[in-house]
């Protein structure tokens, strides 16, 4: 071991207790040392630097009260994972999945039983450990997560659903990592639910890496509903090899301040990323969403469609970044960001950013910020619908184009329900 663990007694103790492989512990200490010279990442128009977003708590094992999970709606499906805080409460996959060689396991198990695989993919391709201060801190303090590995030539129709419940009944940082590797020619659907129990002020740092190998197709959906007092950094990044495709569908329904950094690197020729995001901000929260697609390979396609709604005194920023690297000939970068404001005190922003370094490409953008159409509201109310219900219908209508473009009907319905719930809660502050 090249790093003297005596300098890091807490990390050493944790490593010993969890029996994590030496390479990983070494990565922690290296990242911690590197962190000193790294800065917070910057995102256009998202000023989060003063938030309590940095991780400060020492690395440690924390248990959660198991019965807290009863507060969360968990829908039983064939393939599912339920985690509360650092612990895994439930993990089951179908015989079909197991027989086809799919690995689904929690973070500690992954490090112990699939150390080589984890080492091969953990912050090697998608996100880098020393990218910025937040990624470095992430490695140093990481305590929970999920590892999913789908071998090549495996086509699975049934999705895997995860529930990651952050335990905010105590003031613990939540540092969570997901790796999803889908092999050549494989198809896989994954639905992630992020939630919070408890009301303590906490910090969450979550990184999700999705590796789509040659000719694979991944449907990645998420419904994020972190709590009002959770300050979160949420990074989801796809690394796409030749002819791979990722369909991202994300519902940002969090109640607290959050920076969402959603990126796709279209590395292989002919790779394709479709990013659909709906977001609702309520109360006084700030949600900053930075969505980037980088066309690196030839004939790659990157599309971003994001619609958001802001209520009360909340803020929502949508950045859409389409970056075409020189040499990415025949590539296409399109994006549309729209924000609907329901209140005079809300703040919204939709910034299209196109960076194009090659000539032989197509690119386009649309962005708008608008208010609720009063004629629509009047019409609905003239049929006896109370104002708040009428508003919700207009909002659902506004989010409609994004919802309609989400491939899975189940996800669409689930998102619609979450949107409805978030709106009802949010309207209470109006």
């Amino acid at each position: 071991m090249t790093v003297d663990l005596k300098k890091y007694p807490t990390i050493a103790a944790y490593a010993e207790k969890t029996a994590e492989p030496a390479w990983f512990t070494e990565l922690r200490t290296k990242s911690l040392e590197k962190a000193v010279s790294l800065a917070l990442p910057s995102f256009e128009k998202i000023r989060y630097q003063r938030w309590p977003i940095q991780l400060k708590q020492p690395l440690g094992e924390k248990n959660s009260q198991k019965n807290l999970i009863e507060k969360i709606d968990v829908e039983q499906t064939d393939n599912m994972v339920v985690q509360l805080g650092q612990e895994t409460l439930e993990l089951k996959i179908s015989d079909e999945m197991r027989e086809k060689g799919v690995i689904v396991c929690d973070w500690q198990t992954a490090l112990q039983e699939h150390s080589d695989l984890v080492q091969k993919y953990f912050m090697q391709k998608a996100v880098k450990t020393d990218e910025d201060l937040l990624t470095a801190q992430h490695v140093a303090y990481l305590t929970s997560g999920l590892f999913i590995y789908v071998p090549k030539n495996v086509v699975l129709k049934k999705a895997l659903t995860s529930y990651f419940v952050q335990d905010a009944t105590v003031e613990n940082d939540y540092v969570h990592h997901v790796i999803l590797v889908v092999g050549e020619n494989s198809e896989f659907s994954y639905l992630e639910n992020l939630k919070t129990v408890g009301e303590q002020a906490t910090t969450a740092n979550i990184i999700v890496e999705v590796i789509a190998q040659e000719n694979s197709h991944i449907k990645f959906a998420s419904v994020d509903r972190l709590g009002a007092k959770t300050t979160a950094y949420l990074n989801r990044r796809g690394y796409l090899e030749k002819n791979a495709k990722i369909d991202w569908s994300m519902g940002m329904m969090n109640d607290g301040n959050i920076v969402g950094d959603f990126d796709s690197d279209l590395v292989g020729d002919g790779s394709h990323s479709e990013v659909k995001i709906v977001a609702i901000s309520t109360g006084r929260q700030i949600q900053g969403i930075d969505t980037r697609v980088t066309n690196i390979g030839k004939h790659t396609i990157g599309h971003i469609l994001q619609h958001g709604v802001i209520l009360s005194r909340s803020s929502l920023v949508f950045n859409g970044i389409g970056h075409i690297i020189k040499g990415a000939k025949g590539s296409d970068a399109q994006q549309e960001s729209r924000v609907l404001m329901l209140s005079n005190k809300a703040k919204g922003d939709a910034n299209p950013i196109l960076l194009i370094d090659d000539n032989d490409v197509t690119a386009g953008h649309a962005a708008s910020i608008g208010r609720v159409n009063q004629e629509q509201l009047y019409y609905l109310m003239s049929r006896g619908l109370p104002k708040k219900i009428a508003e919700r219908l207009v909002i659902i209508g506004f989010l409609g184009p994004v919802l309609a473009a989400i491939p899975s009907k189940l996800i669409r319905e689930q998102l619609k329900t979450t949107i409805e719930r978030k709106l009802i809660d949010g309207q209470k502050d109006e």
Binding site: S382, R383, G384, L385, L393, G397, G400
Partner: protein, 259 residues
């Protein structure tokens, strides 16, 4: 039986006085028609009764069963029993017609006793049949991409499903061909009965051949200037509004009159 009464109603929009003292009284079981030239305030009257926020009532009252409703927001007026079939209904993408109509019906029922989906669909199906509407109209987004005629039918569909006490039909005949006019009239006539009253706003007498009114009001210059039976409508069709104006000795310039 319910009553709707408009008393000395003055309404302005963008600071311009449009209605200058309208008086009108009707009961359920009656169909009233308001006729009048363009720009005389007919649509203003309907929007003011319903409660469109752009129309400012500067004087007067609108009484539903003796209670002034002018302080109520539009949704409460609707739940109290008013309905306005609009000339230009809004389009709402993302909300299906059926979903919306069911929501409107349930807004009138106790929260714990909503109309069951099954009963709702049965009624919807039957009503759409009366209006010669195809089934897919139920699943389409509310008015989105509807033709002019489809929108009018859809207004009548809502009227028949919601069953208000009083329905104001604002130029429901405009842009309809004769077949569509017959269908729409069939719908309104089916609603006729002791618990339903309607105020029909129209330019033309034609609609009144299909929905025969009990009372005809003629509006000019922001006031009701004459009342009569169905024969009054026929006379206007023959003589035009200018004839009546001159007979009444009114100093009103008709918008469409040539200088």
């Amino acid at each position: 039986m319910s009553t709707l009464e408009v008393k000395d109603l003055h309404v302005s929009i963008d600071g311009k006085n449009i209605l200058k003292g309208v008086n009108l009284k009707m009961k359920t079981g009656e169909i009233h028609a308001i006729m009048g030239p363009n720009g005389t305030g007919k649509s203003t009257l309907s929007e003011a009764i319903m409660g469109h926020p752009a129309y400012k009532v500067t004087q007067g009252e609108v009484l539903l069963n003796g209670e002034n409703i002018l302080e109520l927001p539009v949704d409460e007026r609707a739940r109290a029993g008013l309905f306005l079939a609009m000339q230009y209904p809004a389009e709402i993408p993302g909300v299906t017609n059926a979903e919306f109509i069911r929501g409107a019906i349930n807004a009138r029922l106790p929260e714990d006793k909503p109309l069951s989906v099954r009963d709702f669909l049965k009624r919807l199906d039957k009503t759409m049949n009366v209006l010669d509407m195809t089934e897919e109209m139920a699943d389409r987004y509310l008015n989105e991409g509807f033709s002019g005629g489809e929108k009018k039918r859809n207004e009548i569909l809502q009227l028949m499903m919601i069953k208000p006490k009083f329905a104001i039909l604002d130029e429901i005949d405009s842009g309809l061909d004769i077949d569509a006019l017959k269908v729409v009239s069939r719908g309104v006539n089916q609603m006729r009965g002791p618990e339903f009253g309607s105020l029909i706003i129209t330019h033309y007498q034609r609609l009144l051949n299909y929905i025969v009114p009990d009372v005809v009001h003629v509006m000019m210059g922001g006031r009701i200037v004459k009342q009569g039976g169905p024969e009054l409508a026929k006379r206007l069709e023959d003589e035009g509004y200018a004839g009546l104006r001159d007979e009444l000795g009114l100093d009103i310039k008709l918008v469409d009159e040539e200088a």
